[in-house]
Structure formats: C-alpha cells, structure tokens
Amino acid sequence: MLAARFAEVVLPHLGDALSLARWLTGNAADAEDVVQEACLKAHAGIAGFAGGNPRAWLLTIVRNASYTWMARNRPRSVVAVGGLADLDDVSPPPDNDADSPEAALIAKANSAAVEAAIARLPDAFRETLVLRDINGLSYREIAAMLGVPQGTVMSRLARARSLLMTDIGGRHHEPA
C-alpha cells in the first residue's frame, strides 16, 4: 500500500513543496525539477514516515533536494546555509523602530513588491520566512528541519520580517 500512502502523504502538499522549492531555487521551472526529485526520494522513504506532520516531512525532503540540486547545477551560487556565524547569532534583530514604516504602508504593498523583497532577503532569512509564513510550519518544525535551536528560528524570522518591512514599507529602497 506504499502507493496509496504516497498519494495520501505527498500529493496533497505539492503546492507547498513547489512554493518552497521556488523560493529556494529562485524560479518556478527549477522548482518543478527539484520537487520531482524530492518526490522520488519521498517515495523511496515513505515507509520511514512515522506520522506527524506530512507537510513538514515532505518539505524537509524538498529542502534537502533543493540544496543538492543547487550544488549540482549552480555551484557558484550556493552559500553554506547554517554555516554563517552571523546568521546563527541568536541575538534579536537590531532596533530599527526609528525608521520602521507604518503598518498601513506595509498593507498597501502589492504582491510583486512583496515577492521582490522576499527574493532580496539573505538565504537563511528567506528560508525561515518562507517555511513559516508561506508553508505555515511551526517554530518547532522549522527548528527540527534546519537543525537549529528554536531561538535561532525566532531570531531569523524576526530579522527577515524586519528587513521586509523596511523594504516594502517604502522608507528605503536599497538594491540587494
């Protein structure tokens, strides 16, 4: 019944898998290739899925497949995610109240602006933000997936959001 299990665990979450792969690889066509590879691995490993959140389980495989894919196809662009000491710093985001935009300005941002701003985020921040705000995983699930403490997840998420706010809030338009 592995096939039935595959259809139950994997197929409903293909949209999320594509979202994540699209944000990690940077484009939609590559995302399909990555998700297809991830699904092959998911199928091979479906017997090892021991319950829990199937979305988190699949997205973990998609994330690994994304980095494997990028290492193979775009070796120059791969950054050692998780290896950057400054990103793993659990210190909270810098205090930028002074130039934080109003909530109303953020709410007015259009999809294209939000998308561009997310694309400009440093990789580790973008990954955490996508897993939380687009894929809807919990802090605990993200921490387990990335192999970092929950405090690091919280810090990265706060910094990612803070960068997005200043970016789409319109106060700064710094190039990436």
């Binding site: 096939a3 259809a7 909530a103 933000l129 959001r161 706010m165």
Partner: protein, 306 residues
C-alpha cells in the same frame, strides 16, 4: 525607550525590548500558550511602540499571505503520480520474480490500486481553479490552528451534533448538497484527500437503496471534516467522518440523538468517528448505519485509501 528597564515586571516576559519583539512575533504566529499570550497582549495594550510593531507584523503577514501561490499543473501532478505508479509496478514485478512462492494475488491487487488512485486524483486536480485553491488554503489554516478548539469540541459532543445538523440543513438549502458529484468512491475519496488530507470509507450502497451522491467538506469547530452524502428515496443522509483523535474502542451506535430537528446516529469504527444525520425516518437511518458498517467490514478496501 520605555521606563521598564528600571522597573522589573512580574509578568515573566523578557525585559529586553528586542527579546520582547520576538515575543510579539511568537504571539502573531500562535506559538504562545494562553498565559504568555495574555501577558504579551497586555504589554502591547500598554505600549504604543509594541502596538505599532504588532500592527506591522500583522500587516506583513497579510501581505505575504496575499501573494499568488504556485499552481500544481495537471502535467506536473501526473508526473508525480506516475512516480508511485512506475515504482509500484517495479516493486510488484521484483516481488514476484524474487519470491515465486509468495502469493501473487495480493501483488496484483496492489497494482490495481496503484493504477486507480493517482489517476483519479489527477482527474480531480484538473478541475482546480483559484477559488478552490483559496478554499483549500483556508481549510489548511483551520486545520493547523484548530487544535485547541477541536479539543473543546471533542469534550462537547452535543455542540458537535448541532454543528453536524446545521451543516446538513445548510446543504439542503444550498444549490447542491455536495461539492464533488460522483457515485464512484475512487473519485470522492481522492477529492477529499486532496482538499483536506483525509479520506473516509465511501462505499456505494446503491443496491441497498442508499446511493452515494458525492462528498463535501464540513467545517466543524474550526476543523475541516469529510462529509459523504447518500440518497435514500427522497431523503438525503449526510455522513460526517471525524478522524479519531485518541484510542477509543469501537463504539456501538447511539441512536437516541437528535439536533436541530434532524435525527442523528453517532458511532466509531476504525479510524473515524461517524455522525449520520438525516430527515429520513428513524428506521431508515438505523438501517443505513447498519448497512454502512457492514459494507466497510465486508470491503476493507473501501476503507483504505484505494
């Protein structure tokens, strides 16, 4: 920025303003327990700086959530479904080649299931449009956030019964009582599975006088639930199948329930807790329940995701 550095608080929250910001993120993300959430909300109410940050985070989340999602194209879904098909066939062949003495019958049966299911779901995904995508995203959000509510609902079978009855009443008033019209469980089950990740047994009992009309999604206590709709003469029977949360033993049918003017029968079998509701007569409803239970015992394949 605020005087609280000099005046320690008793609410257990961080004194550091930056750490306090992390708590606001955690509040927005639903990661705080009730006590901590209350404490953070009080701080937000008392401090305009924190309130502004809270509003910004909410606005940002909304902006991010409003971005278009990638669509799962039919072509792509077919490619992924083909993985299971191809591999399933390989495994079956390998299994038969390796152990000729092993009973080949179940292997063949497995092949059949492998073929049916992905195609059925591919067909259903083909009809995705953005409204259905949006609905399923909303339902997923409910699924993720409804755990506490769900526990409360579990402890309140009465309100659950009323919700089931109300859902049935709405379905009678709506243009169609089902979201997916099909008498074929191979269509209904993958549809439900694709929407909410749950697919209850859906035997067609037309020969018993209970024709499967199709299925829909009910939201009860913030939790999406699969609902099957059967027709018996001029009456509709809605069968809500709530995935079982704990290890309750199979429960015999309790047949003295009624809510909102409808008769209900509640029982538990296998992985689901069932609620049947109808405006049919009591004997007809009881007969339906007995035949449904017999059907899933007689044909477990209808109860597995096949």
């Amino acid at each position: 920025m605020s005087p609280h550095e000099n005046r320690p608080r008793e609410d257990g929250l961080p004194q550091d303003p930056q750490d306090m910001k992390l708590m606001i993120h955690a509040l927005v993300d639903g990661e705080l327990d009730a006590a901590a959430a209350l404490a953070v909300e009080r701080r937000i109410a008392a401090d305009p700086e924190l309130a502004a940050e809270h509003a910004r985070i909410l606005a940002l989340r909304k902006a991010v959530a409003g971005m278009p999602r990638p669509t799962v194209s039919d072509d792509f879904l077919a490619r992924i479904a083909a993985i299971a098909e191809a591999k399933g066939a390989d495994e079956a062949e390998a299994g038969q080649a390796a152990t000729t003495t092993a009973a080949p019958q179940p292997q063949q049966q497995q092949d059949k299931i492998v073929e049916m299911r992905p195609r059925a779901s591919a067909r259903r995904f083909a009809s995705f449009d953005w409204r259905q995508m949006a609905a399923s995203i909303v339902l997923t959000a409910f699924l993720a956030s409804g755990a506490t509510q769900w526990l409360m609902v579990q402890n309140a079978p009465d309100s659950f019964a009323i919700a089931v009855a109300n859902g049935h009443r709405r379905s009678l008033l709506a243009a169609t009582p089902v979201d997916i019209v099909s008498s074929d469980r191979h269509t209904v089950k993958p549809w439900l599975d694709g929407r909410i990740g749950v697919s209850p047994p859906a035997p067609d009992m037309a020969k018993d006088g209970y024709a499967l009309l199709g299925g829909r999604v009910e939201v009860i206590g913030d939790k999406p639930m699969p609902a099957l709709v059967y027709r018996h003469h001029e009456h509709l029977i809605t069968l809500v199948a709530a995935p079982r949360q704990n290890d309750v033993k199979s429960m015999p049918a309790t047949d003295d329930l009624s809510a909102g003017g409808f008769l209900l029968v509640h029982w538990t079998d296998g992985a689901f807790s069932y609620w049947a509701v109808s405006d049919a007569e009591r004997p007809a409803l009881d007969d339906f329940v007995a035949r449904f239970r017999a059907a899933i015992v007689a044909n477990p394949a209808a109860g597995s995701p096949g």
